[in-house]
Symmetry: C2
Subunit: 246 residues, 2 copies
Amino acid sequence: MPGRTQKKPADPPNSLADFKVGVDNVIFSVDTAQNRLLVLLVLRHEEPFSGQWSLPGTLVRQGESLEDAADRVLVEKIRAENLYLEQLYTFGGPERDPREAESCYGVRYLSVSYFALVQFAETELIADGVSGIAWYPLQQIPQLAFDHNQILTYGYRRLRNKLEYSPVAFEVLPELFTLSDLYQLYTTVLGENFSDYSNFRSRLLKLGFLLDTGVKVSRGAGRPASLYRFDADAFAPLKDKPLVFI
Amino acid sequence: MPGRTQKKPADPPNSLADFKVGVDNVIFSVDTAQNRLLVLLVLRHEEPFSGQWSLPGTLVRQGESLEDAADRVLVEKIRAENLYLEQLYTFGGPERDPREAESCYGVRYLSVSYFALVQFAETELIADGVSGIAWYPLQQIPQLAFDHNQILTYGYRRLRNKLEYSPVAFEVLPELFTLSDLYQLYTTVLGENFSDYSNFRSRLLKLGFLLDTGVKVSRGAGRPASLYRFDADAFAPLKDKPLVFI
DNA sequence: ACAAAAGTGTTTTTTATACACCCATGC
DNA sequence: GCATGGGTGTATAAAAAACACTTTTGT
């Protein structure tokens, strides 16, 4: 059951597809001040989908690994201190990119998507005048180019899952944070009533990788909160162990 | 953005890579009689790696989706009743395929790997005389072609994880099975002492999607066991819910 | 003084773990 | 009868969930 691509009808049956491979990054960050989950979008200036927002991506160059390509996009768009990057999923159906139809060569476009987390405060967007680039709150994502809404949905699901069993939260939070910041981040992403604050608090503290710096910070009314720091060394032995942050 | 790919060594810098995309399947099954976790391997007859075992795979054809290609390999190699198929990971570093070096066209080979589960009893291997194809016990996997050992490792990790929180076990077990079969499968994959049998048993039964058919089956000495059946309908509401099979 | 946010502790319920014991069959 | 694997129950420990209460600040 070979599918055929029309156009140049001279193609032998079952001929192999030629691919260009793109990487598209779902880059999340959290604005702790406003408790908003943010996604980095860029405005396209070329066809197809010129004038529409899309996930930051690029086509893979010769001699470049997939992860290198994903990293290159990141470096071109933002100046980030730390960043977390992992492969998400590969979308490769035919007709996912209109360029496939245009070119008569039967070239396919395949997207290997990556999932990235950066700290909002330490991250500076590289706006080179012309190119639009912006953090979009997740609730206000517009119609994106290609199948990028689908990719984003996939990335968001990954984020929610990872929050529950891995310390990715600390990739998104600033170096020093209060336990409320941490809790707010979880409620922002996972929704209200995922857990009681005091239970969440004692569960996390019992795990032993949150260092109380002793420094207090006051934000408006109420008792000042302690600033904590994630202790990667203390966390190391817990790697691979089933963890529950819920 | 970057320019065009042409042949010959006169490539402009930053030119895009041209890809052929392959799919490689990590196909697991379990021989309940012998309590062995099996992986389907095929013997290569072409270069590169001719004469070596490899994961069953193919290159993606024009007009064919990635999953269709993965499915095509499956259908060519085995006649299976039910099968479970999901995308695993995409391996795409340069130089992962020696063919990249041979051809001076700068063609890259990228592998989208898929993870599949089939029922051992209901699965018939399609041996077309020449092509070697065999179930290999996981402990006896030889040196494989390409980076297939790495892909297999990745697939095995996925299998272990999925066993803990999703009902994939029933994709591998025969239609009717005893609770011992189920327990043995878990110990085979997860190793001994992952859980006490009686606790495993009551935990699973309490979830309510295992139907006791009432039919008893006797295997050698000992009390005959009840045959159970996985009830997909009863499981449906538990989808998306955090499950524990441990 | 009082509201607001941070932090502590206690009670109840649920789930995990360990293990003792009964049941039905083959030999 | 007894070894073997199947199946049930119970006692204990641990963890999750609910929630009451104290502390420290700004206004």
